[in-house]
Symmetry: C2
Subunit: 127 residues, 2 copies
């Protein structure tokens, strides 16, 4: 029952991008990877998923790197988690007994609260 390490990296990378916003233009993966103490090739892979969802912007070539998009303040922690780990579900009932299952329902309640908790946190608040 854990958020993946990949999401951990992604959140910290986002936090670093946010912290450097306005000061620096683009941050190359090398630098981010150095900060996070992870290989740059692996971090690239993770960040590529954020790029695909437009939560960060990638610029190839010399002096390129990653930067925040215009609407970055709307991005939530939930968005990042889903981009990396996929849709967030606590439970998949092994038994196909319909909606009347109380266990299933309880899990979905707790899950909904958790999702709310992550949605109401903007990445802006991570620094």
């Amino acid at each position: 029952m854990k958020v993946s390490k990949g999401t951990d990296y992604a959140l910290h990378a986002m936090a670093y991008l946010v912290s450097q916003n306005g000061k620096r233009d683009k941050l190359p993966v090398q630098e981010l990877a150095g900060k996070l103490d992870v290989s740059s090739t692996y971090l690239s892979k993770i960040l590529a998923r954020l790029v695909k969802q437009k939560y960060i912007v990638a610029t190839s070539g010399a002096k390129g790197g990653y930067s925040l998009p215009a609407d970055w303040e709307d991005i939530s922690v939930y968005d990042i988690i889903v981009a990396i780990d996929g849709e967030l579900t606590l439970f998949e009932d092994s038994f196909n007994h319909g909606d009347e299952c109380k266990i299933q329902r309880l899990m979905m309640e707790v899950e909904a609260d958790m999702i709310e908790g992550f949605k109401k946190k903007s990445v802006e608040e991570l620094i």
Copy 2:
């Protein structure tokens, strides 16, 4: 980010035991496994952990089986989850930057809410 299938089995087994409480004395694993459509040897293994925590009582021998302990109404969904999956944590920060890490703190908040959600649900409410 999921509760294990083992916990799913355990919760459903508990729910069935609760539902039969008062009506039937002891339920052999064969019967429970039949209900849950899982092999009885595997379910045994899972239920053994509940026995160890005294969330259910096992009786060997003919006419034996599993039953609820005297204080079964105090058992929460949280108890069952922890008995099977171990202590429930959403996040283990890969980076050892102390308590001041906002990401870590956010995760722990959401985690605490989730734990609360599971703790306040008694197994009695599962049926």
